[in-house]
């Protein structure tokens, strides 16, 4: 086995293992899908009412807003609302000590875990959502209210790159919440704070395009925008060309910054961690 393959072996193994294990929760995936359909419909109706009330100056068309909404529902679970529950359990039980006994970089270890955990939950939900909003709705004549395909091949390609950055950003932010949980020795505080911050700053509640001109660049520059607003705006072509390249570069740049900070903070937190009991 070559050097790199040997180095990466633990990370790939835990990533694959967690993905498979998480994928088993079919009932949760189905329940999540139905909930997200329900919220998708409501949000689409809200947008429809908003546009019907005279939205001449709206920054995107109703169709784009609807596509943005369905993408948000499809990829909802990538939003890092919580500390990784496995890590939370380990910190509570003290089994986190074993994490430090593995010959792996603790940050990379938690990062791949978080990535496998979110991806495995997103995969079935997103697949069902694409079938529902992207295929079934158009088939029954509700195409106007459904998920439209990307307008061009370029948009699709940019979206693929941006979505990859979205997955990495999501994992990086989850690990930051883990670290906050380790520092506080309790997951409730970080979890309560994370959800509203992520929902608002990602553009999940309101697409960032709807914010005033002076505020929008600031909102789009912060890392959480890369979870929803940037990838989905790229998808329907609202951000295209060099702007798309710049936005994707910004996403990856934030991944690097958050990972570097997270790795430093995790090592620090681990050195201070007093494993409970014993």
């Amino acid at each position: 086995m070559s050097g790199i393959a040997t180095t990466l072996r633990p990370y790939l193994a835990v990533c694959a293992g967690r993905f498979q294990l998480t994928l088993q929760y079919r009932a949760a995936a189905l329940a999540g899908f139905l909930t997200q359909c329900w919220f998708g419909v409501i949000r689409v109706l809200i947008f429809a009412a908003f546009y019907a009330g005279g939205a001449a100056k709206a920054p995107m068309t109703l169709g784009d807003a609807i596509t943005y909404t369905w993408l948000g529902q499809a990829f909802l679970v990538f939003l890092p609302w919580n500390a990784d529950p496995d890590v939370t359990d380990m910190v509570r039980s003290g089994a986190v000590a074993y994490e430090r006994l593995r010959p792996v970089d603790s940050y990379a270890w938690w990062f791949v875990r978080a990535m496998a955990w979110s991806s495995a939950r997103v995969a079935p939900r997103a697949a069902l959502m694409v079938v529902f909003a992207g295929v079934l709705m158009p088939l029954v004549g509700l195409g106007k209210w459904g998920l439209a395909p990307p307008p061009s091949l370029a948009a699709a390609g940019f979206f693929a790159a941006s979505a990859a950055a979205m997955v990495l950003l999501s994992a990086a932010i989850t690990v930051l919440i883990n670290i906050a949980m380790v520092r506080a020795m309790d997951e409730r505080g970080p979890n309560i704070l994370a959800a509203p911050i992520v929902n608002f700053f990602s553009g999940m509640v309101i697409p960032l395009a709807f914010f005033p001109d002076w505020l929008r660049p600031i909102l789009r520059a912060q890392p959480i925008a890369g979870l929803v607003d940037i990838p989905f705006s790229i998808y329907f072509g609202g951000v295209a060309g060099w702007s798309a390249v710049g936005a994707i570069a910004l996403q990856f740049g934030w991944v690097v910054v958050l990972a570097a900070f997270g790795r430093w903070a995790l090592e620090r937190a681990m050195r201070r961690l007093q494993v409970q009991g014993g």
Binding site: G17, A97, Y98, V104, G278
Partner: protein, 330 residues
């Protein structure tokens, strides 16, 4: 060069203190009071390759802190520590690849996975080549009799079964040094014996160095050639168990069943511990009066049905030792 070198190791924790009650909680928001706790106050010892050492001490003595520092989980406040030539907390990743650790009160196996899948995951985590892994695994499965457990999810195992699997899990990467923290805790007698026997063989036949912490003194008596007693963050004793016993509690007990009612015995160097019906329990110091001598004198004076000598319970020895050193937890 010893395998483990520990010199003047200290570890102090800072703990936030809070006055009791609601007002105390409010005060704590404004001004925190900190209290420093000295978990280790200058611990030094060395271990050679192939030793089996029991690390004992009352709760809160510093055993776990020592193990956590040696295994690289915790960074000490001061002092020197090298294991296999590495500084555990600085060269953590290289260091942990060469040790095995079992914490009896925690699990390192994956709750939802069958045992064998957990083992396979550990193979990848420790980057063990497949052929070497297969050989080690098969050997551990045979020695610890795990063959019928491998397909079961960890959550379904009994504690004894799980502990055997935990020990195997800690050895899949063939570490030359293992730390066992309370590996027999809450196990039934057959499981305890199985674990003891396995650990003994591992040490004797493979030359694996073992550091064992436990509150079960029978573990120590059965396994350890050397005992390190820690109390109040300091080493109180370091030597053989027999030496420890002799130094603390030489006293032995003689139980005498008389043919009639037990007489009121008045003898020098002998203390009556308990009297019930026909039986007397006597305590004596074998350095002052030997057991045969004592028995001869009693039998000469009184008709006797039965006599037997007992060593004081090991627990008693240890409790007495902790007591003498003021080491018991407040």
């Amino acid at each position: 060069m010893p395998q483990i070198l520990v010199e003047e190791l200290t570890k102090t924790y800072r703990i936030a203190e809070r006055s009791p009650g609601a007002w105390g909680a409010v005060k704590g928001l404004v001004r925190r009071r900190w209290r420093t706790v000295e978990a280790l106050a200058g611990v030094s010892f060395q271990l050679q390759r192939g030793e089996l050492v029991g690390l004992i001490g009352p709760n809160g003595a510093g055993k776990s802190t020592t193990i956590k520092i040696l295994s690289g989980i915790l960074e000490p406040t001061a002092g020197r520590c090298e294991v296999n030539g590495l500084i555990p907390w600085r060269q953590r990743i290289r260091h942990v690849a060469r040790i095995g650790v079992v914490f009896g009160q925690r699990t390192q196996l994956w709750w939802d996975l069958p045992v064998i899948e957990g083992f396979n995951l550990l193979r990848d985590i420790y980057r063990v080549p497949q052929d070497r892994y297969a050989a080690t695994r098969d050997e551990l499965v045979a020695l610890l009799r795990l063959d019928r457990l491998l397909d079961q999810p960890v959550r379904q195992l009994s504690l004894g079964q799980r502990m055997r699997c935990e020990i195997a899990a800690a050895l899949l990467h063939s570490p030359p040094l293992i730390f066992l923290e309370e590996p027999t805790i809450a196990l039934d007698a057959p499981s305890k014996l199985a674990v003891r026997e396995f650990v003994g063989r591992l040490n004797r036949e493979r030359g694996v160095t073992v550091i064992l912490t436990t509150h079960d003194m029978h573990d120590i008596e059965a396994l350890a050639d050397r005992v390190i007693v820690i109390g109040g963050g300091k080493i109180l004793a370091d030597g053989s168990f027999a030496a420890l016993r002799a130094g603390v509690l030489a006293e032995r007990r003689l139980f005498v069943d008389f043919a009639g009612a037990a007489p009121a015995l008045e003898m020098a160097d002998v203390r009556v511990v308990a009297a019930s019906g026909q039986q007397l329990e006597l305590a004596f110091d074998p350095r002052r009066i030997t057991a045969p001598d004592l028995i001869a004198r009693i039998v000469a004076a009184h008709p006797v049905d039965d006599i037997h000598v007992e060593e004081p319970l090991i627990e008693e020895v240890i409790a007495r030792f902790y007591d003498l050193h003021g080491a018991a937890e407040p």
